[in-house]
Amino acid sequence: MDLETLKSFEWSVMTPEFIILGVAALLTLLDLFLPKKMDRRILGWIGIVGILAAILSVASLLNVESTSILDDSFTFDAFGKSFKLILLVGSALVMFLAISYDAKEGMEDYRGEFYYLFLSALLGAMIMTSSGDLITLFIGLELLTVSSYILAGIRKHNLQSNESAMKYVINGGISTAITLFGMSYVYGLTGTTNLFEIANKLAAVTNGQQAYLLGLAFLMIFVGLSFKLAAAPFHMWAPDVYQGAPTPVTAFLSVISKSAGFVIVIRILISVFYNAAPTDNGEGILFKMHDYLAVIAAVTMIIGNVVALKQTNIKRLFAYSSIAHAGYILVALTTMSSNLLYSIWFYLLAYMLMNLGAFAVIQVVTEQAGSSKISDFAGLARRSPILAVLMGILLVSLAGFPGTAGFIGKLNIFVGAFYGTPHYVLAAIMIATTVISYFYYFGIMTQMFFRPASDERKLNIPFGIVVVLLVAVVGSILFGIMPNIALDFLNNLH
């Protein structure tokens, strides 16, 4: 391969990645050379501008046909475009949260790092959306993960933050080991890391022993990646880490990191295992592993929703709620209906909006209260009626109430569960656990509207929070009432 071949690739499709990388590098340098006294928030604003520029460049590339660079190690396809947009918009919102974040202790000297580590994590996630190569996917995953480790522990003088980072690193290490072990089997069976070549080779596998090994590899990869999704059996880190990490980081982990996790799961599972080692009637390994996915989805939904009932800390509660949402999305993955991609994409979009909005409110309330107990929300309707109403809308959306994006998302998945062979049990569990979720979401509502405030101070809402709330609430309602906007967008992608 010479320079000419390198030049012949259409590198312009990587512009969004280059922008993020460039801005991250710029922020690193600025942080180094700017005077110590200067407020580092300016770096956050530059970061936001960078992300917006990346969003624009993705938008301008929307009509570009699917392109791949260097043996598919970067592929720019409809899948990548659509999910990349979710990640970018979500990260922009997280940056707004980060700018408004004003922790009590431990963040003084590290604001600059705080911002550009978000960018590097975002870069990792973006790479995961558009790569057709196991190695590149894995590096993207690690870039995201390592950045997240540091972000979780960035309040180094806060004991909880330290604990959170420590637990995250250890569990992350285990998950990486398991994932890699599984991937190594796939490589061993095919001798290539290119997903499309792997798929082709595996489609020809008829040997039972190879199929068995593929099944093992499937389970290992999935369990390893379930760490990123915070799905069973790799969900237990989530509450502790979410609780200890700074709120914007928690928001990042629960939305961006989870979305990226689903992206890589879809990429690998669908492209590698969909047609692998087909049986006589043409069903690949994925169909055989169907029941395992169903069990994992069911357990995830049950654990997330049921344990959430017992929580007294708002961030822990949202950790379990995010586990539960991962379970719902896994239902879509399990049912493998023809609208799989759309329903997951839409759910992630809705989830991004409502969860980030909720975290914006959580950030304001917990910062003022200095703790993150659910009872800190008592009387919010009196202290700041607008905040309480917006939070109410977001909670209603999270609970999956009609008229909100959360409902449409659940409806898509639910309808999908009856595609082809109907999954009655899974659908019933989904409905039952959704009902359980009403209890804890409405528990917060009761606190906000029906309890007297222990602290009568008015809340001041920083600008960044206003932006996030506005986008989140408007989006949640808009996509709840006119979901076809999102669908048309997705259908028009190449």
Binding site: S175, G208, M236, P402, V435, I436, T446, N484, L487
Partner: protein
């Protein structure tokens, strides 16, 4: 026709009156506007909020009436647009004006308008006055939206929204622990029903590939769905109606919901929301009619609920709770009617009940407003003090008891006829007994509240202000005359119109029962009234009267007293025993079941939290053991060497 302009855009007057139905979607929009305005400016408007709410609901009412009149001459109008696409499935949204929902629009907007007016007096001085009106607007919007939905999905969306409105309004006095608990309970209990509705809806969708009522009925007609599937989906959907309409065993939330402000009880828990379940069954009637099992289930549950709730009503001492149980019982009646294939009977009773039950609740509110207690033991002798409320309450009581010439008489008669003709003699008997009980406890209530001596402290008892009494007067008139739209004597206008142009429904039109049913119903209700008269009116009279008169009459009086005693010993003892028994079932079985489920869920939650010890090694161990478990199961089952 001044108000037409409020609901009508410029071309309206040019094109003529046909445009009314085309723009029927405006009807729910008025209360929504009211809600939004009050949400944004409520704080500044203060008590003037009431006028905003009243004006907008009046607009809805006038428009609904115009639509209803137009519907008399024009065929059903409906329109749809594509709303959501899932895979290759296209879901639509839109609205439809058919006979049933044109009628419902008027009922809902009328009761809502009257409650809006009434509340201005009732809620006077409450510091969250604008919020109350905003919630009322939201609820009315949702209820009207529910009524004009042309498909199941849209119905479901508004169905949930109605639940939210009810939740907010029951919990309006959130500083009261009971109100909070009741709001939560109502929400959760109806949700349990909604799960059934949702699953039934999706199953139906997968059978017919559509949520549209029309297409569902067409598929049912064409025999595209197997009978067992129809039965399953119909019963699942009925479970939703059970939750919303407070049918056994999901009825327990309705009496508790009386913790909300009384006008709310009149609007939501008497006339509109609880009737939504009945409405749902009615609007899906062709589906239910296709399955005998489903119909029978509905009839049995309806009849059982009717007698069950009525018997509990016998021993209640809270004025609103008596009315709540009577609501549950009357809703059971409507279900019985629908289950006996008496489509018209069910809808007819739905309408008359909306009027007289709203009247009773508003009158009860007026009483509570006057004496500041809800315990009927502490009332008495109010007839003279509440010169308007008393007679109006009496009208409502007569109507619900099914005394001839009042509206309830005709609709109840139609239901009894439907049950008899439908071939359910046992259910007919149950309904008849329930009618007896209803007459008895309603008059017990009336006599205890309005006659006899004043009990408890009643110092400043005064009649309610005009904006509370006018709505009651209007409802009182309706409670008398509403029955005449469908009588065996002056023609069955309503019944004929409701099934007009719809073959599926035409078989279930007005039912002409034998004359003895009407006589039996009359006798039963008069007997109930007489018994109540003897026990709660006569006895107190006799006591005074005895002291002043001679011995000659003494024995007669004594004999009458024996009658009392006799009744007390036999009939009442039996009914009391039964009612306590049913109450026992209610408390221990139904609530126990609910508690059991809650307990299991909470136990699981506790176990889950316990495993979450904070030890990071455990987390890793759980993940690895999970993986190992999956892998081992795979090794044993997963087709090694296939």
């Amino acid at each position: 026709m001044e108000f037409v302009h409020e609901g009508c855009q410029a071309p309206c007057s040019i094109k003529g009156i046909v445009i009314m139905m085309e723009n029927a979607w405006l009807i729910p929009l008025f209360p929504l506007l009211s809600f939004l305005i009050l949400l944004l400016f409520g704080k500044r408007l203060k008590e003037a909020s009431a006028y905003v709410g009243i004006l907008f609901t009046l607009a809805s009412l006038v428009y609904s009436i115009l639509v209803l009149f137009e519907r008399f001459s024009e065929p059903t109008y409906g329109t749809n647009f594509e709303w959501l696409t899932i895979g290759d499935l296209h879901l639509t949204a839109g609205f439809e004006v058919n006979q049933l929902n044109a009628l419902m629009l008027v009922i809902v907007s009328l009761v809502s308008f009257l409650v809006h007016t009434y509340s201005k007096g009732y809620m006077q001085g409450d510091e969250r006055f604008p919020v109350f009106y905003a919630y009322l607007g939201l609820f009315t919007f949702a209820m009207l939206g529910l009524v004009i939905s042309p498909n199941l999905l849209q119905t479901y969306i508004f169905w949930e929204l109605v639940g939210v409105g009810s939740f907010l309004l029951i919990g309006f006095y959130f500083y009261k622990e009971e109100a909070r608990a009741a709001a939560k309970k109502a929400f959760i209990m109806t949700r349990i029903g909604d799960v059934g509705l949702f699953i039934g809806m999706i199953l139906l969708f997968w059978q017919t590939k559509s949520f549209e009522y029309k297409e569902i009925f067409a598929a049912v007609d064409a025999g595209e769905i197997s009978t067992s599937m129809i039965t399953l989906t119909a019963i699942l959907i009925f479970i939703g109606a059970v939750g919303k309409s407070g049918q056994f065993p999901l009825h327990t939330w309705l009496p508790d919901a009386m913790e909300g402000p009384t006008p709310v009880s009149a609007l939501i828990h008497a006339a509109t929301m609880v009737a939504a379940g009945v409405y749902l069954v009615a609007s899906l009637f062709p589906l239910f009619a296709a399955s005998k099992t489903a119909l029978l289930t509905i009839a049995v549950i309806g009849a059982f609920t009717a007698i069950f709730a009525a018997s509990i009503g016998l021993v209640q001492t809270d004025i609103k709770r008596v009315l709540a149980y009577s609501t549950v019982s009357q809703l059971g009646y409507m279900m019985l009617a629908l289950g006996s294939a008496g489509y018209v009977a069910g809808v007819f009773h739905l309408m008359t009940h909306a009027f007289f039950k709203a009247l009773l609740f508003l009158a009860a509110g007026s009483v509570i407003h006057a004496v500041h207690t809800q315990n009927i033991e502490e009332m008495g002798g109010l007839w003279k003090k509440l010169k308007l409320t008393g007679p109006l309450f009496l009208i409502g009581t007569l109507a619900i008891s099914g005394v001839p010439l009042f509206s309830g008489f005709f609709s109840k008669d139609e239901i009894l006829a439907a049950a008899w003709e439908g071939g359910h003699p046992i259910l007919f008997l149950l309904a008849l007994i329930a009618a007896f009980m209803t007459a008895f406890y309603m008059f017990r209530l009336f006599f205890m509240v309005f006659t006899g001596e004043a009990r408890g402290s009643q110092k400043h008892v005064h009649e309610s202000p005009a904006n509370m009494t006018y709505p009651m007067i209007l409802l009182g008139v309706l409670a008398i005359i509403a029955g005449y739209v469908n009588t065996p004597w002056f023609g069955t206008f309503l019944g004929d119109w409701l099934v007009d142009g719809n073959e599926a429904l035409a078989q279930h039109g007005h039912i002409e029962g034998p004359v003895w049913i009407m006589i039996a119903a009359t006798v039963v209700s008069l007997a109930g009234i007489y018994l109540a008269y003897l026990m709660y009116y006569k006895r107190s009279l006799a006591r005074n009267w005895l002291s002043g008169t001679g011995d000659t009459l003494h024995t007669i009086v004594l004999n009458k007293y024996y009658v009392d005693e006799f009744y007390q010993l036999t009939v009442l003892a039996a009914t009391t025993a039964i009612s306590y028994f049913l109450r026992f079932i209610d408390v221990f079985l139904v609530e126990g079941l609910v508690k059991g489920v809650v307990g299991i869920v909470q136990g699981l939650g506790r176990a889950g939290s316990k495993l979450q010890s904070g030890q990071v090694q455990t987390y890793g161990a759980v993940a690895f053991i999970g993986l190992a478990l999956l892998v081992v199961i795979f090794a044993f089952t997963g087709g090694y060497l296939r």
